[in-house]
């Protein structure tokens, strides 16, 4: 993309949510805030908590790499386009 950021689906371990966070959304926001803010802060698109557990976010390569190393993160998958059939 023109801004060097890409969208990803991030699956996290639900059981890793620290009890100090009142909601999964708060935890997901906190996870993103803990990432390097270069070149821009990571942006949360959605927080998921029923069908799946995790979030989608706009991330730089550095932020993506940091998330992949995070112990609560199971996978980081690029946001793909599908098509109507």
């Amino acid at each position: 993309s023109s801004d060097g950021l890409e969208s990803y689906i991030v699956h996290v371990q639900r059981s890793h949510k620290p009890s100090l966070f009142s909601s999964h959304n708060n935890w997901h926001v906190s996870l993103l805030r803990s990432l390097p803010s270069s070149p821009q802060p990571a942006t949360l698109l959605y927080s998921y908590s029923r069908a799946v557990h995790g979030f989608s976010a706009r991330l730089s390569p550095i932020q993506t790499a940091a998330l992949r190393r995070h112990p609560s993160v199971i996978s980081v998958i690029p946001d793909q386009a599908r098509e109507i059939h």
Binding site: S7, A51, V52, I74, R82, I84
Partner: protein, 659 residues
């Protein structure tokens, strides 16, 4: 849907419709391009209050007022954050699109009205397919989740919609969306991952198999917890014959509704001799096509756009000819110029005629809507994506086929029936084709079954549809594959065409609990913690041991798919069946139709159920007698079936074998 209910065998006084009260109060979540709420298919006349279990919302906006929702369309939401961020660099699409759930494309209104649209009298597209349009579950409620936009449908938005649909309390998710080409690996496939979560909540997830046929291994949405639907024809045609100057009549199809051509023969030219074989706009030489009928080849650009290109160049009409890729599959289009589509064989003959004749001519005769036994139906659409399942060959996909060719259903008021900018027309109903159209048919059936059997799991509902499907045309011959003109097989049509009235009372079901899907994932190689993408709850990982499968093929699926590597190889699959018939003491006996070069042994061959034993298991032993098979329609593939009967029910599972 002015005809598919009749084709599916529905009647008002018996069968699945009356035994489910048309799906009343079941909630179908349609994840698609949104909805046109003013459409009569979404009238709530005659419906009771919104189900008390519903927790969803109707998201309002400038073009989607609060009055958009009612007791039929009980929820509508739009998910675009993923789309907008992806389109950030190219705002040309995003800027002009409404961010409300309003359907500006048509596809979502079509699929929603097919699954659960209300009854609408005098529906037609320019008098084609005239009749009473009705969704399969006409009293079910609809929740529309807009996930697809001009630039595509993004996983982040799809997952958000699935997550919300679970929270809102839908019972069925209908998703006519997927990857193009082959399916992604389960752990990177957001639809598979989201569908797993929805299934955990007891939601049936019905998905289109894709339109990437006729190549093998093209089926998408093939996770075993998904109900995967291919597309087939019904006994209704929109005939428009091409008649060449030598008197030959070529059967074609068209939804053209403008002024007719003169009844006399007109000069006929081949587009390839006039500047553009595929009839691209602006590429045809006007001096060569003016006043003539132009034969255009299919492919490259939109079919209706080809006719428009002919019209712009001054042509009088168009014959659109399939190439070998699409074979004999005919798709009716509401062309802007007098036009018909013919099959590949006819196309070859007409091209030859043009080449060898001094002054080739043709005319097009429009015959309108024809319902009847000729040609036989159902037949599998060439475009319908096929197996074998390229991710897990021991799980047969697609599961079933359903009507998906030339389906009339509701349409948006925003664009014309061709969805092209050049089409100024606006219609209430449109006729289109795709596995997108077959999927909501089955979603509606799932809603009916959910109402008739509220205690059935998603797997049991799938099992009922699979084991009661049929694999012969109404002529009594095996279902034909329109791509080849030869008999279809289970890698193309799965178990066959759905038969909803039989699915109401299948006799036995192959049930699958979530923990068995977990065991399946372990059997195909997923390990902790990666498997948590699906499970969320680490304790479910215990199922890998407690419900351990010998192989992935041991999953209690209602069909069989076997892969052999060598002669003499033996493969054993275990299955568990639950008696859901009214006779608790039913006794079932097995009947086996072995694929060529394969021996099948079922043990035991008789299942005696009782009040105490409503669940029984059996084991199937498949033995490869000759390496490679090769006597069937596809080398290395053979097909058969295993069916259990108690004299009243026939519980039939297809068997597909690969070497």
């Amino acid at each position: 849907t002015t005809h598919t209910p009749a084709f599916l065998g529905f009647s008002q006084n018996s069968g699945l419709w009356s035994n489910s009260n048309y799906g009343e109060d079941v909630i179908v979540g349609v994840l698609d391009t949104g909805i046109w709420p003013e459409h009569p298919s979404f009238s709530d006349s005659g419906l009771g209050p919104i189900p008390s279990t519903w927790k969803g919302e109707c998201e309002i906006g400038p073009d989607f007022p609060d009055s958009s929702c009612n007791r039929k369309l009980i929820g509508a939401r739009a998910f675009y954050r993923g789309y907008l961020t992806q389109r950030n660099g190219t705002k040309k699409h995003a800027a002009k699109e409404s961010r409300s759930p309003r359907d500006t494309e048509g596809h979502g209104t079509h699929t929603a009205s097919t699954a659960a649209g209300s009854v609408v009298a005098n529906a037609s597209l320019y008098q084609y397919a005239r009749g009473t349009a009705t969704g399969m579950a006409s009293k079910a409620r609809i929740a529309a989740y807009k996930i697809c936009w001009t630039g595509g449908c993004y996983d982040s938005d799809i997952l958000a919609a699935m997550d919300q649909a679970v929270a809102d309390g839908v019972h069925v998710i209908s998703l006519s969306v997927g990857a193009s080409g082959s399916a992604p690996e389960y752990h990177t496939d957001s639809i598979a991952i989201g569908a797993f979560g929805a299934t955990r909540h007891g939601i049936v997830v019905s998905c289109s198999a894709g339109n990437s046929g006729p190549n093998p291994e093209t089926a998408t949405n093939i996770a075993p917890w998904i109900l995967t639907v291919g597309a087939s024809t019904v006994d209704r045609e929109f005939s428009a014959n091409a008649i060449t100057g030598d008197g030959k009549v070529f059967t074609g199809t068209s939804l053209y509704a403008g002024e007719s051509l003169p009844d006399s023969q007109l000069s006929l030219v081949y587009s390839g001799d006039c500047g553009s074989r595929l009839c691209y706009p602006g590429k045809l030489n006007s001096s060569l096509v003016e006043g003539k009928i132009v034969l255009c080849d299919r492919g490259g650009n939109a079919r209706v756009e080809k006719g428009s290109a002919v019209k712009l160049a001054g042509g009088a009409g168009m014959i659109l000819a399939n190439t070998a890729e699409s074979g004999e599959e005919l798709t009716a289009d509401s062309h802007l110029v007098p036009a018909t589509m013919v099959g590949a064989k006819a196309g070859d003959q007409i091209r030859d005629y043009i080449k060898t004749s001094d002054s080739p001519t043709a005319k097009i005769s429009f015959l309108g809507t024809l319902i009847g036994p000729s040609p036989p139906s159902p037949r599998v659409a060439a475009f319908s994506s096929r197996g074998p399942n390229h991710l897990t060959p021991v799980i047969l996909k697609p599961d079933v086929i359903a009507p998906g060719v030339n389906i009339l259903a509701g349409w948006t008021g925003m664009v014309g029936p061709t969805d092209l900018d050049i089409d100024p027309r606006r219609v209430q109903f449109n006729i289109i084709s795709g596995t997108s159209m077959s999927c909501p048919h089955v979603s509606g059936l799932a809603a009916l079954l959910r109402k008739a059997h509220p205690d059935w799991s998603p797997a049991a509902i799938k099992s009922a549809l699979v084991t009661t499907a049929y694999d012969v045309e109404n002529s009594g011959e095996p279902i034909e594959d329109l791509a080849t003109g030869k008999s279809s097989n289970s890698f193309i049509h799965g178990a066959g065409h759905v038969d909803p009235n039989k699915a109401l009372n299948p006799g036995l079901v192959y049930d699958i609990e979530v923990k068995e899907y977990v065991a399946f994932l372990c059997a195909v190689g997923y390990e902790f913690p990666g498997i948590l993408v699906f499970l969320q709850d680490p304790t479910l990982y215990d199922a890998c041991e407690t419900s351990k499968l010998r192989t992935a093929g041991d999953l209690n699926y209602p069909s069989f798919s076997v892969v052999f590597a060598s002669t003499g190889e033996v493969v054993k699959y275990k299955r568990v069946v639950k008696n859901v018939g009214s006779n608790v003491d039913a006794v079932y006996e097995v009947g086996v139709k072995s694929p060529a070069n394969v021996e099948i042994d079922v043990s035991p061959s008789k299942l005696a159920f009782s009040k105490e034993k409503s669940v029984l298991e059996y084991e199937v032993t498949f033995k490869s007698v000759v390496l490679g098979g090769g006597v069937g329609s596809v080398p290395g593939h053979e097909f058969g079936s295993i069916e259990w009967t108690d004299g009243e029910h026939v519980v039939k599972s297809p068997v597909a074998v690969q070497w």
